[in-house]
Amino acid sequence: MQINDETFITQKTFRALLQAMSHPGRVYQLEQKTEVRSQITDKYNLFSVLQTLLDHEVGFCVIGKEKEYLKSNISELTGCPVKDISDADFIIVSDGESNGEILKAKKGSLEYPDTGATVIYSIRSLSQIPPYPPLVKGGIRGDLKLTLKGPGINGEISLFLVGVSKKEFHYLKEINSEYPLGIDSVFIDSANRIMCIPRSTRIEVR
């Protein structure tokens, strides 16, 4: 079946998100053979996820490069209002670097922890196998190895990221230190792959 309709694209995207959120650290491929992809090329991956989750009932904000471009296009495409970071339900980090801004995100309340924000990172690459050449100690190429534990993970899982700094995960750990309060993160790379780290996951960076 050819997917040429928003209903089917968002359904497929959501199923990938659902699997990714219930298997933290596992890298899933988003649908690629779509009409839309050929038309907005590079940021398609990000937009297919935003289209699936955002609408007028929630608010979003953008951190990082291309801030204005993304802001206007996202709100035009989804009808989602732009909000301050401390009030936004979705925070889009366009180049994998929030410089600690995400610490201002909504963490939810103890009565309603689900009101905590969702952060969506657009990064260069996500992979389950080590990049070649192998990781140099200290991550000279900007590559990061993450080891995750927690609900959804059978034992532990490792994965490799390019285009996101080590610091970012310290911020994530900090904001998620008071479970069940916290934020849930979605990582999307340039090859249409996604990976999620919900607040219940314990992160180890190497």
Binding site: E6, T7, Q11, L17, L18, Q39, G152
Partner: protein, 318 residues
């Protein structure tokens, strides 16, 4: 093409959206799409988006009940509308659906829900647990161990496990917020003092991920251990009570028990299914009104059929 142009184009696309959905369906099934007047999978995209957002939060906080705006459906709330809304929000045309009610594929509730979903989402249905990608269920978890790629959607009548001890929603929400579960433990203790047994037969409270006490829906105790470190994603929907919650795979789910008074499952004292002979399944007891004779049948009819066919040499699957 620039994004702006694409957005301009989108309006036109919206107009042909319905048509293209029909064409895509027709291509696949070679039957012209019959639906008109409602969206694919019945509920509108806006409602699906809300349910989808809530589902992701439910998975991120295992065992926590996420409030959602439960929608009107063509069946009355309290008849599986929570499960139905979850299924509608996740289902795609490539899914294979199984619906069971008390383990049975053929009961009225299961048949009607299956008919509705397969009509509005045009999916294939099955009674084989292995073949299904989505299983919607009321009051049972299938006997066969489910895989990672499958999703079990449970219909929940009463999502609040603490409701039997505390009638106020504000108060139970505070208890969950502070993980203040002493009243629940007291209830279990008093039960043991009174009956020398924890008298909760179904809806046995469980502790999820060491944080939230959760109602596993009215499954028998038999099914409770299946929630612990499962391969499958469990989604719970309470339509009337407007709550969604979830247990992701590989999550600790412990039935509440005391060190010196352990949780135990139903004991059938060696009885077996009179149809397929299984001794390792959850059995329904059938009492003959005239003679008073007790007989037993597998509650999971799909599994019972499979065992029977295997014995008769008809079934060659795994």
């Amino acid at each position: 093409m620039k994004l702006k142009e694409w957005i301009a184009n989108k309006e036109h696309k919206d107009n042909i959206r319905h048509l293209s959905a029909c064409n895509a369906q027709a291509e696949k099934s070679e039957v012209r799409h019959k639906f008109s007047g409602y969206n694919f999978a019945f509920i509108d995209e806006g409602s699906k988006r809300e349910i989808r957002r809530k589902l992701l939060k439910a998975i991120a906080i295992p065992g926590y009940q996420v409030p959602f705006g439960s929608r009107e459906l063509p069946i009355a709330s309290g008849w599986g509308t929570g499960g139905l809304q979850i299924t509608f929000s996740i289902i795609g045309t490539e899914d294979i659906l199984k619906v069971i009610d008390q383990g049975c594929d053929g009961s009225v509730n299961a048949v009607n829900i299956k008919k509705l979903i397969s009509k509005v989402a045009e999916v294939r249905t099955t009674i084989d647990t292995h073949e299904a990608t989505i299983i919607q269920t009321r009051h049972r978890i299938p006997e066969e161990r489910m895989r990672e790629d499958q999703i079990l959607v449970l219909q929940v009548p009463l999502p609040e496990a603490l409701r039997r001890i505390e009638p106020s929603e504000v108060e139970t929400r505070r208890m969950h917020a502070e993980a203040d579960y002493s009243l629940m433990w007291l209830y279990l203790y008093e039960d043991i003092v009174k009956f020398k047994e924890i008298s909760i037969a179904s809806r046995y409270p469980v502790m999820v991920g060491g944080r939230y006490i959760m109602d596993p829906s009215p499954v028998p105790r038999w099914d409770v251990p299946k929630l612990h470190m499962a391969d499958t994603l469990y989604l719970f929907g309470a339509g009337r009570e407007k709550r969604i919650y979830a247990i992701p795979p590989y999550t600790k789910v412990e039935p509440l028990e005391f060190e010196d008074f352990k949780f135990r499952i139903e004991d059938f004292k060696g009885e077996s299914c009179m149809r397929c002979g299984s001794k390792d399944t959850f059995l329904d007891e059938i009492i003959d009104d005239a003679t008073g004779r007790r007989t037993y049948l597998c509650s999971d009819t799909g599994y019972c059929d499979k065992v029977l066919e295997g014995k008769e040499g008809k079934y060659y699957g795994d």
